[in-house]
Amino acid sequence: MATNPMHQFNVYRIGPEIKIDQIDISFTNASLFMVMSSLIILIIFNLGSIKKNIIPNKVQLLAELSYSFISKMISDTAGSKGKPYFGFIFSLFMFVLFCNMLGMLPYAFTVTSHIIVTFVLAALIFIGVTVIGFIKHGLGYLKLFVPSGVPIVLLPLIVVIEVISYLSRPISLSVRLFANMMAGHTMMKVFGGFVISLGLVGGWLPLGFSVALTGLEILVAFLQAYVFAILTCIYLNDALNLHH
């Protein structure tokens, strides 16, 4: 059923089936959009960094503004210690942003609307941040779970809550992005279906909604990428500057 609003999230194979030891790693429409967004990012930022004009042209300005935007975001949240992780945060933000934005094109597939993709990204961040924390502070990193100034009676409870909240970070991070993207796209599809089923007579209202939702979704696409990146910065800050 083409009008099923969940149909747009279907993953299907493009080209031949690729299997390594019975594991299916075929090239799918999701893979296509991941490759596309990566390539678009690389092309834009390569074009933006080739020339060394004192007064930048448009692409160069775009690249340099994004650079300083992410750079400022990291220094604001994680301080100067966060500088070595600039490349990762930058790639992360750009990847999520472009996957979200490419998903806004009609008939496009939204990579970030799949829980598995966002979860892998979030798990990568979670593991990375935990490893960095233990490398920087050793076992002292566990102090993160013991906030200072808490009465000793409450300490066992607080520690349990802190551990749970720490462990749920990857889940909240991934579900936030995935749910936002899925809900938005589903809504747009539902309103699009209303336009067709109500026809010329009553279809104008849902069409207006659809237009408004498109604007909202573009905002959400940017906002979620920003939130994803800034939460990563905050987690990184916890691991780098241990003061709770």
Partner: protein, 196 residues
């Protein structure tokens, strides 16, 4: 009839429900694990590729560009400030030069005026001296003339009166008596003829 209606309703409900379930049977494609491994594989591949290329090649270039621009702007500001200071110094030099030349000109002017005034004074003094000398000479002459004039007048008066008497009467009268009368008259009228 009623049985038929019930059967019809039941059938339509079943078809509706089955349709809905048919749509729902797809469920959330996100939870279908068929392509999970493929998505993870391609995600790590593309994201890793993106991360490596960006952080190894592209981001350093952008940061270099930014640094370059910053340093060039700073350089430009520095040279601009240097030139500003230089120009200010030049202006100061120019002003001192102008002030000096003004002072010099004033000095020249004052010197010239003094010289001229001195010259004029000298000349005036000389002229005044000459004038005084002449005045003195003239006064001397006048005084001499004054001194001599009454005698001469008296003599002329006695001569003319002697001759007049000779013509009128035809007799010569003693000169000394005439001159005595003349002297007597001139002494009497001295204030009338001379102002002094």
């Amino acid at each position: 009839m009623r049985k038929r209606l019930v059967l019809y309703l039941l059938l339509s409900v079943i078809t509706f429900v089955s349709n809905v379930y048919g749509a729902e049977s797809e469920g959330m494609p996100q939870l279908n694990p068929e392509f999970w491994v493929s998505q993870i594989f391609w995600l790590i591949l593309t994201f890793g590729f993106l991360f490596i290329i960006l952080s190894k090649f592209i981001l350093p270039k952008i940061s270099n560009n930014l640094e370059l621009r910053k340093s060039q702007i700073l350089d430009n500001i520095e040279t601009a400030e240097k030139q500003k200071i230089e120009s200010e110094n030049k202006i100061k030099e120019y002003e001192t030069l102008i002030n000096n030349s003004k002072n010099e000109a004033r000095n020249y002017f004052n010197d010239a005026r003094k010289k001229i005034i001195q010259d004029i004074d000298k000349k005036r003094e000389k002229v005044e001296e000459e004038i005084n000398l002449e005045i003195q000479n003239a006064e001397k002459e006048i005084a001499e003339l004054k001194k001599n004039s009454p005698e001469k007048i008296n003599k002329i008066a006695t001569d003319t009166s002697a001759q007049l008497i000779k013509q009128l009467i035809g007799e010569e009268i003693n000169n000394s008596s005439i001159s005595a009368i003349v002297e007597d008259l001139s002494k009497k009228n001295k204030g009338k003829y001379y102002d002094n």
